[in-house]
Assembly symmetry: C2
Homo-oligomer: 513 residues x 2
């Protein structure tokens, strides 16, 4: 045998080593993700089913599973396998798995477990302080906890990469594949478009039919209506459930993904919107490939893409004339007292732009993003050290006045309204707006690709839209990074353009501006 034959053998060995390493890595990843999905079931149960007294046992179960998962990820064997695979000749699919697992491994490995636990403990304390502070309109009670979170999260970012903007590093916890530069550009464009648009709407003399759906609508009928809406859009109850919880959420995987909602007796339209929003999340999870359960190829592409799926259904479907043409008769069957309402009344009611709403979760489709911009600018500056915790309330109120033309009277209605900072989740808020922007871009592409999409929705034919989303988004899992996914689906990089076109056309027509 000559040298070449020896080289061939060596090549074979390399290929076989890489093959074995890949299989071993995949086994490990499946295992830790399966532990994560088990913890997800416990989290769902905690919020939906668990009796109050169960908390101590549940906390220990969840922290034990979390620490087992962390140990599996950071095990030296994970690093060795990734080293073996770093220069190996991999298929695109394998390369995507290695890319995603490497990112997760590097972050988990960089941050000491002690710090993760410290943040978790700080969150428990901060959450209690925040609840009290919000109840009693007492920012000072929460301030030291916010300060502590800023310090711990800076330390966290520093472990991951001491040379980069710590806010960007934290943002990547929720959206790892979009740059801060692009994100800031999108949020700037939203602010620049929406502030004048909202001003014009307020200055207009349009008179929308906002009182048509006033009254008292019992919860049982609202729940039946929510189920009607889910049946219409095509939720698969053999792989899901609808329950009630204090904060609506979606939880699960491609085999079993469950929705919760809540009901306000004075506002049945909100329940419909919220249920369809959660349906969009669930449909994404249920559309992930079953054979890749537990691996990045069967896992969702992070928060912005997830939110794009919920916003697409909430806004582009649920706030369209086409949807209400179909759904209003169903609504009126549950609530015959609204028999006089027209489709146009419903369309106007679900699309009204509020004059004086201070609360993010009650915001309309336009002002919503200014709520986000305020939070983004404040948390970014806090983490970067450009804003002191004590100055948060004043800054918050000034920005609300500047962007939305309203000023909170209390911190409870101001900078204490959201739970996110009590968990130290800096960098989470932008993903909400990124999701909306992405929803608009995806929906425009779907409208382009599907003939007469509006007519199909009015006819109750949701399959073409579902198939388009499954083919262009759901089936890919985390195979592509966010921008690549968006480009493949829409032909363009992610930008705010489709969103600004959409709102300018829609609200221009509605308000005559």
């Amino acid at each position: 045998m000559g040298t070449e034959a020896v080289e061939d053998d060596a090549d074979d060995a390399d290929t076989s080593d890489a093959h074995d390493a890949y299989d071993a890595l995949l086994d490990r990843v499946r295992r830790w993700n399966t532990v994560g999905s088990a913890a997800g079931v416990l989290g769902w149960d905690q919020q939906v089913m668990m009796p109050e007294g169960g908390t101590p046992a549940r906390s220990r179960q969840l922290s034990t599973l979390s620490s087992i998962r962390h140990e599996m990820i950071t095990d030296a064997e994970t690093g060795d396998l990734l080293d073996t695979l770093a220069d190996a000749d991999l298929t695109d699919e394998q390369a995507a798995v290695v890319r995603e697992v490497s990112r997760e491994y590097e972050r988990a490995d960089a941050v000491p477990r002690r710090l993760v636990e410290e943040i978790s403990e700080a969150s428990t304390e901060a959450l209690q302080a925040w609840e009290k502070a919000k109840d009693e309109n007492d920012f000072d009670r929460f301030a030291p906890h916010l300060q502590r979170h800023v310090e711990l999260k800076r330390e966290y970012a520093d472990h991951i990469d001491p040379d980069r903007d710590p806010y960007e590093v934290l943002f990547e916890e929720y959206e790892p594949c979009l740059s801060m530069e692009r994100t800031e550009a999108i949020l700037d464009e939203l602010r620049e478009t929406l502030v004048p648009l909202i001003d014009a709407i307020r200055a207009s003399d349009a008179d929308l039919a906002v009182d048509t759906f006033e009254g008292k609508f019992p919860e049982d009928e609202q729940e039946a209506l929510a189920r009607d809406a889910l049946d219409l859009v095509g939720y698969d109850f053999d792989r899901g459930r609808l329950d009630v919880s204090s904060h609506p959420f979606t939880s699960g995987n491609q085999f079993d993904c469950r929705i919760t909602t809540r009901f306000d007796e004075s506002d049945p339209l909100a329940a419909v919107g919220s249920t369809i929003h959660e349906y969009g999340h669930a449909q994404y999870a249920l559309g992930l490939p079953q054979k890749h359960f537990g691996t990045p190829l069967g896992d969702d592409r992070d928060l912005s893409v997830h939110e794009s799926q919920s916003r697409l259904f909430e806004n582009h479907v649920g706030r369209s004339r086409a949807f209400w043409e179909r759904f209003l008769p169903t609504f009126q069957e549950q609530f015959p007292e609204t028999d006089d309402a027209t489709v146009e009344d419903a369309y106007e009611a679900v699309n009204q732009v509020y004059e004086d709403n201070l609360i993010r979760v009650e915001a309309d489709e336009l002002t919503y993003h200014l709520h986000i911009v305020v939070r983004f600018e404040i948390e970014r500056d806090l983490v970067r050290g450009d804003l002191a915790v004590e100055d948060v309330p004043e800054t918050w109120n000034d920005k609300y006045e500047q962007y939305l033309g309203i000023r909170p009277d209390t911190d409870s209605e101001g900078c204490l309204q959201d739970i996110h900072w009590s968990h130290g989740n800096f960098g989470y808020f932008p993903t909400y707006s990124l999701g909306s922007v992405m929803a608009a871009q995806l929906y425009a592409a779907a409208e382009h690709d599907i003939d007469d999409l509006d007519d199909k929705i009015t006819a109750g034919e949701f399959e073409p839209l579902q198939e388009w989303l499954a083919e262009n988004v759901h089936q890919h899992g985390s195979r592509y990074e966010t921008n690549e996914l968006v480009k493949r689906a829409t032909g363009e990089a992610l930008s705010a353009d489709a969103f600004t076109d959409y709102v300018e056309a829609k609200y221009g027509e509605l308000y005559g501006v």
Copy 2:
């Protein structure tokens, strides 16, 4: 320093080593038991809440948690710590923990993981075959799976102790602290007492009021009634839930223990009995010491003791005149059509001895144990190699004829009726009868210790009984082995005497025999 001082130092080191080893062992045990309790939540969800499509993900979650738990138990470190503690000077409490953990470790360590997985896979296949075989009355379809389970379980027992009776070894999986000798003696005594007693009852001309509660009783009212019963006996809904499932069961721990029940529209008395039965299980779990969660001191003392708590409430409370004095008015509020029924009618209805019932789960308090004796004798002989699988149907039918005077027409109503053998759970059945026997012995002791217990029950005062059970049973967790626990609570070793006294007195009076 002289020799003594050196010895003192050595003693200190020993003590300190043992102390550290005990703490380390306890940490490990808490961790694996917490994983086990997390799996318990997933199991509850699977039976009560999970949509059908969720099965593939749930199976993987449960098998992953099971394998993680097994790895933790059998980790070499567990064995090393137990070795260190084997000859250490321990408190009684510590010694109890080491005894229980050693038993679990030795069994888990002795059996190869491969065999555990093989049994689990065989069970999945056997379960499907059993369901079909039962549906189609086709024992031959199930026979090869039963044969496979017999072989696998013999192999399992052989790994644990090749020198002992394999059936005894398997029985210890469910009841590790009672000898087979005592168990066989108890079951023999039950058979010898009950066969003639039931013969005498059938020969008697007593005419019990068994038709009083015939009719159709809607599920919603039955559920309200089940909640009334739970409120009466004192179930803490802040630490539990009541749901519906196809097979009633109880699942949870000292912080959160949940009950399920089921409803038969023609038989509201069955739902009351079943709910109170599960309540007894739940009350045991909820009475375990919270501070010992995740350790043997906070864990139940296996199946016989668990069943004693459920049977005590189902039979000694729920089938008593005292209970129906209290509960009949509540029953009649839910079901006014039964207003003519007297307490004696209710007492007779819940205590009727069936003439021709072939089904264990529908059996009365007396014939029940003959159903168990048949199963015990057959599975014991199967595992010992004294009975061939092909002879099971004939043997089953002969024994039913011999002990109960009835012969099944089909195997579906005969040896195919129970799920247990499709899981390979040989040795489980006897714990049902041991639980009844223990319930009678404990209740007799409680009646002795608590003045006018009957009057208290009629007055709705359940605290004295609960406190007696908490003090004598629940609070001890697995601190004492079963016999020691029973002796401390009742002054006597476990025997069938209290049970035979109870049934002879009760049914003698009811049927005049």
